[in-house]
Symmetry: C2
Subunit: 416 residues, 2 copies
């Protein structure tokens, strides 16, 4: 019987050209974070359905690919709900597995634990252009480091990585959930409405200061409160001076240590950075996940809308999963976005030692074959990529194909 040729809905076959880019970026990630002392770990793609449905996964819990029980455990006659049929599912992120991994292996792991995870995740999202139901996530986390050492190392390592990808330039924006909260408190918003205020603030880059003001008032917040809030944003600048301004202005509301830590992070990154990028203090940066507890950051490629990575400190989440309080700080790299950007600009992977194709006439006798294979081996031992192929009738077309595959040299061998 014949196969269904297309991949399942929303997933894709990956071409040699895209794989080349993916492998290159994967290797760069492993190397770069390795240089900063991060260790790779891996967890199974399949997780207990209970762990995936713990309510920490938010909207993603609605998008789980669920796996049917097997053998005697599957009781089709008596099953009443979906829950009776399944015992596991494909992971929708790497955070739940990391928490489980840490709970399962903490005794064997160093503290702090600097973890690099790269792996596929699955979400049964509505398929749309450039968005797939299987995609690679790349998470870098430091567990058990309470100081800003974690933030600084994460930002330095990540900017080193992005710097190697030859984009024109990039920007890291940084804020702190504690600064966000202090600004809201100072302005007089009630604590229970902070999340709503931040959701509106997050639209600043789209609807501007006035838009934010209008939406806040529409939600019923007092004009005085909204004005006080906007005045703060008007007074602040995107640099160290901005941090210092808020430190003074929010005295008594914002812990001084929070502002000083922010200064130290920015100054350290500025002093040590090896790539060409800007680190800016951005008090309007919110990041959606409400589990962040301290500094938050986002990285974007100049001239391209949207972020290619982000993260922050989340000192409470792992404890919620595992029952053991564990401070944590992490960065998530937008692997698929980076690959897409590199493909779009037809990125050429730097400095390979050359690709040669050996074309040999049909029915080459044994002596000729041996000679060809020896010559191929000699080139390979110098680090070149060599493919050996039989000459085709339409040699011109064959050569064009090889050139398109990146073979820069083509050698021909004929029967004597």
């Amino acid at each position: 019987m014949s196969l269904k040729k297309k991949p399942v809905t929303g997933m894709k076959d990956i071409s040699p050209r895209e794989m080349e880019i993916r492998d290159y970026v994967i290797q760069l990630i492993k190397e770069t974070y390795g240089a900063f002392g991060f260790s790779s770990i891996e967890t199974p793609c399949v997780e207990h359905i209970e762990n995936l449905s713990s309510k920490q996964g938010g909207e993603n819990e609605k998008l789980i690919f669920k796996i049917l029980k097997r053998g005697e455990k599957l009781k089709l006659d008596t099953a009443e709900t979906e829950g009776d049929l399944v015992d596991s599912g494909l992971r929708y992120d790497l955070t739940v597995p990391l928490s489980r991994y840490y709970a399962n292996n903490a005794n064997d792991l160093p503290s702090p634990f600097k973890a690099l995870q790269m792996g596929n995740v699955w979400r049964a999202d509505r398929p749309q252009r450039g968005r797939f139901r299987q995609f690679m996530q790349c998470d870098i986390d430091i567990l058990g480091e309470p100081t800003i050492l974690a933030e600084i190392e994460l930002i330095l390592a990540t900017s080193t990585l992005v710097g190697k990808l030859d984009f024109e330039g990039f920007t890291i924006r940084i804020n702190d959930r504690k600064i966000l909260k202090a600004m809201a408190k100072y302005s007089g918003f009630p604590e229970e409405s902070y999340d709503l205020v931040f959701i509106i603030l997050d639209k600043m880059d789209k609807i501007g200061m006035e838009g934010v003001a209008a939406e806040l008032e529409k939600e019923g917040f007092g004009k005085e409160c909204v004005d006080r809030y906007l005045e703060l944003f008007e007074g602040v600048t995107n640099n160290l001076a901005g941090v210092r301004y808020l430190k003074e202005k929010l005295a008594g509301v914002l812990d001084e240590k929070t502002a000083e830590d922010m200064e130290t992070i920015i100054e350290s990154v500025e002093a040590v950075k090896t790539a060409d990028f800007k680190i800016v203090f951005d008090p309007t940066l919110v990041r959606g996940m409400s589990y962040y507890t301290g500094p938050i950051f986002e990285i974007s490629i100049d001239g391209f809308g949207g972020s290619v990575g982000g993260g922050g400190r989340y000192d409470e989440m792992i404890g919620k999963f595992t029952g053991n309080q564990t401070c944590a700080c992490g960065f998530s790299i937008g692997f698929e976005r980076i690959v897409m950007l590199l493909l779009e600009k037809d990125y050429q992977i730097p400095a390979k030692k050359g690709k040669t194709a050996f074309l040999m006439e049909k029915n080459m006798p044994k002596e000729g074959l041996l000679k060809i294979f020896k010559e191929a081996e000699a080139e390979r031992s110098q680090g070149k990529q060599v493919t050996v192929a039989v000459m085709k009738k339409n040699k011109k077309f064959q050569k064009e194909q090889l050139t398109a595959e990146g073979y820069t040299e083509i050698k021909e061998y004929f029967n004597r």
Copy 2:
């Protein structure tokens, strides 16, 4: 709520130490086959349930992790069988996906197409020591090359790979399904019983020549026929002379080209090989899969029972899947076995440029921090791995831990 800490039954969390080995082997595989002109491809881990149940997967089709339909498509009330509930499953090998990939993308692929696939597969096998329900497969295939060029390149590339892994020595055994069949025909076995004869022959290394004879007779094959068969095996040697002996002996039954090709493969590999290994002609080599149509081979590490890879020519299978006849030859590397062997002998990955840990006293002031990060960056830029950590109360234990993690140098920084 607390998570279930253990991975799902039969799957495992992978430690930093094992990941180091895995990443190293993956990189070596990509590099080595890359040097021979192979391109990486990838397919989704999820496949159409129809493709997984096409009867080409044999026993593996009983071990599928099946995925529940989602949304409106899942009709729990009216479902009568498992088939009504599922639309896809996790792949159990890389062969079905390769066939689908080739059918889907052939127009964009070069011919011949030299493909490297590395990816996880899943089988709901009974869990047992060293065998997992999620494991990595590594398949290398040449599609569309009808000559022994494919066999030679596959064996050369694979032996180059294994040679880089510093085992004491290894052996490649080679045979041809056509020689197997000619030997059975010459001896007078009826064609419909070849598969049974080969299953018994396959036990030669365990039960010896006499054991094979006894089992064949027990199955009711005539003594004359069995004697003739064994006589052939007694006369043959494990080298080129053995191939030539069979070429003469089987004249009229075995196509001369088959024997000559075998000679050319062995001679070419002997002449060009870069690693220290033996290639031996083994007329008792069967390999289980009956889809092989020509040369078959298996690779084993000396002093370790069992193979770490094998393959052969399968000119008919892809056509059965796709409806388009496509000749093919492939090698499957026992990735998990190789990793296990390297872990067991506590393999040290060659030549890294050193790992340094910077330990700094608690509450390091900003100036000190900047100095430390700059020094760390200087070492990283020389290719070293550097981790920065806060000094702990029990510094002795902390240093022991870092040493165990492979940090050979530890520098200490104190507040002034």
